[in-house]
Symmetry: D2
Subunit: 303 residues, 4 copies
């Protein structure tokens, strides 16, 4: 056995995040997985991959919007695929309403009486959604024809004042945001109410635009946070294209339940959604923990 | 302490599934949860609730289609909300192609070379999807105008010969099948390729039709298998209506990750998606285990 | 593809537990795992294996004692390895005090004030442990010399009146009960208080007695419920012997955390704790759900 | 709503670990839990609590030994309670044999043939345990009388040359190491083989020595990594004492399975194992990820 093949404790003589994470390569379990994920992501960034971020779970209510925004600004991601809920909660933040630090052991019926909605340990006032409605209604009712979700979200982004909103930054920097479950959200309810005849959110158009991105003749990487439709929608486009060159995944799900959110990236290779030689790793961890440290790693490595 | 409040071992003098499950009321942890779920579901059936089944995860490749079909036949469910993947795999079954019993410890790159796709421990031949394409293409290209997914899937169901297909049974019995992520599947790719100009899958129409069902003045119940968009899409309609009267949930996810799939049904009460007095319980279990036993319970109790 | 290799829905024309479980062989995920586990366990029983049951987690407070007792009576298990907590809670049951059906969303500080202890959704009155103390103290203080835990628990079992207690049944039927964490329980506190000088629980003697069982020249099987010390203590004896011939495991833990409780039985083969050709399967499921159905399967198959 | 009650994105203008973690207080889910855990642990250190670290799971093979050693050196922990396996693997490291960086997708039967044992993605050569045997045998056979595990491990620690071994550091600094499952390990096998008549590892003596520590009239804190016997053994001592003043827990287990490893610290309050007013938090995370960042936090805050 060579010494470099050995498990080694992290050397904490430097306390930099990137040094700690690099030290985790010689640890095991999910520490080693985190180190590999950070390294693969950094390689994508350094080598100018076109990088898709798929974002599921209540990441915006949980405070991850700053990271998404900064990753757009710094060029760490080239395209975002997320859920309707994350779009709605981003608007809640962008309008200055925000989310309340709550707790999970609470009387939900009392909360309901107080017009407070709960997302695990985050609260959001019910009237937040009225303000979202007031903001979205005129945008929706002004549109005609067929829109893909990236096209629609561009219309939304350019109406947002908040410079920290990733919807606005995406519009400024021409970064497409796909939301294949836009209708599966409060924004979907608003769309169903305020749209004029002749205005369609056309999700098949999303497919075509996603395919265009997947057919680009440049290295393509994907950063998967939390599974769900954003993961599947992004990977399935590769059934018609040549597969991702590189992929990382952060999930709290497990393979043995058989669902897609916990499926290994190796399984994705059997579908040719990843190239057979693609580097890939899954970190089994709450993304609210893994993502900030990976982000700090990328920033330090880019300095 | 009254004796009826005590934990008691199951009395196995009867080995009937329903007696075993009823015995679990006096156990703890997820045994007790299963007993409560079976009881609540049975109450919904006995009292003629309008019952939504939301079905996520690769339940059809895993062999659960017979249960879905029989629950429709027996009137245990009134409406199905499921994923694009489950629709596609139902068609794979209905066309007689089927899924192969595989295993999870396998060389995925070798599988890819052999044109075999893997879903944990199930294999599916890649050409299965060509047959799905051959089946769906003429249906898709024959349609014009706006269709909700229940309307589109009715067109599909009536073209299916297999009498065990829940798509066909739903058509026969006029049971709506919602598929808010139809585009997030191979069927979505086919839709984007074969649709004629002027044909839209209009998911906002799904919202309106779901709202109509949620506004019915009869008791409404929901059986949630596996979270995801089917869960959220069904529950969110209640933001505009009065909340479900009764709900059960089978999931392998956990509350502490903060996502919707693992969220408690109590949390749903803070959103008024369930009525405050609604009976509800979550069973933390792989649905391939819990669902067959709950189904057998319902059949025995209905005899 | 042969038809017998295909995923098939369960045929519910028979609702017998054993027929349902046999039908799960053609399903996937943990349904298939349950079917394999039941089949392997039944094979052990039918072929007169010497079968170790390792039992961790709060299985006795959860109502599983009847199954353990009956498995001893029916000869489904030859040896039990369990935790100190399960022994203490068995005595609580055997003394007629019992456990209370509680719930998990509760004010724990209020419970403490009411002298109620909580085990997830089970309550136990604090004075239960005083009665355990009154029962154990004279036994402990009457003993001299070195005792292995099976030897000590035989002394306990013969003092128990309750004919449904597995401690008593084990004594009657000469089934060894190992408790390598006896000191890690309230009984351990009692032992430290009431033992006379010269009385030792000698856990190294447990090792020797476990080794004797593992050196028997008959087929050896192991049924692992819930990991922990009972799992490891039983498997580690095989480092000196030739490995188990057959093994099943029911756990809610997952492999990717790296710990023993979630470790695959394949991993155990790298340690030669299982023979290389041993049949083995892990069911990822709460044992309060899986165990009763497996037990019913064995009973039906033995009729 | 006050602004300080709002969810806020982390301010990455400082990339220091402690600033990132402090920023997580305004996030949600396990990020917020990590921030609370780090803060509570730091408070224990700053206020000179007597701090127990309970350490379960294969933490030493996974590379966490450096952190344990340094926490002893820096006075962050006052007492260690761990498993037999972690003691054995610490000796493997201290003897310079070490663990090999492996992987989890591998042919375990082939590994067995090559005399390689697997711990998820870590390998250890089988002859490592022969060297442990050669090291331990003379120590064991030289001892007479009754030893608690802290007393026995002091004998081991003083024979270790490696200055980075926490067994040696504990001996140097007079930090007790409890190992209530010492017999549940390869060291247990060695003890059963090499001990002379009249030498006992007396675990009831461990109980008494643990009680002495729990009766100290100073603030008492506990840092729980991974549940298992170390968690229970440490908490149960408080059934006779007054409860911990402060507690944090890092676990990958979940409450809904009903077992102790996933039990909330609130549940522990119903048993009075924690004082009713004790600050406590559970971080649901692989400890190989959470522990290094918490350690770095403590070091930065102590500078």
């Amino acid at each position: 056995m060579e010494h470099e093949d050995r498990v080694k404790s992290i050397d904490f003589s430097s306390l930099r995040v990137s040094d700690i994470i690099d030290g985790m390569h010689k640890n095991a379990f999910n520490a080693r997985r985190l180190a590999e994920a950070a390294k693969i992501f950094h390689k994508m960034v350094r080598n100018d991959y076109f990088i898709f971020l798929t974002l599921s779970g209540a990441m915006i209510p949980a405070g991850m919007r700053g990271i998404v925004a900064e990753m757009m600004r710094r060029g760490y991601i080239s395209c975002l695929v997320t859920t309707g809920a994350n779009i709605v909660h981003e608007i809640v933040e962008a309008l200055g309403i925000g989310h309340i630090i709550g707790r999970e052991n609470v009387d939900d019926i009392k909360l309901a009486e107080d017009n407070i909605n709960r997302i695990y340990d985050v609260f959001v006032a019910q009237n937040a959604f009225e303000e979202v409605e007031n903001f979205l209604a005129p945008i929706i009712s002004s549109l005609e024809g067929d829109y893909s979700t990236p096209e629609f979200l561009r219309e939304v982004g350019k109406k947002i004042d908040d410079r920290n909103s990733f919807l606005r930054i995406a519009w400024e920097k021409d970064i497409p945001i796909f939301c294949p479950t836009l209708h599966d959200s409060i924004a979907g309810l608003h769309l169903s109410i305020y749209r004029k005849k002749g205005f369609h959110i056309d999700f098949m158009r999303d497919i075509n635009q996603m395919l265009d991105l997947c057919f680009q003749k440049i290295p393509l990487g994907v950063v998967i946070v939390g599974g769900g439709v954003p993961k599947n929608f992004t990977l399935q486009a590769m059934l018609l294209a040549e597969g991702f060159d590189s992929a990382i995944q952060i999930t709290t799900d497990s393979p043995q339940w058989g669902g897609l959110s916990g499926a290994t990236l190796s399984e994705a290779k059997s579908w040719c959604k990843l190239k057979s030689e693609a580097e890939e790793v899954t970190v089994y961890c709450d993304a609210t923990l893994a993502l900030p440290f990976i982000y700090a790693y990328l920033v330090e490595k880019s300095q």
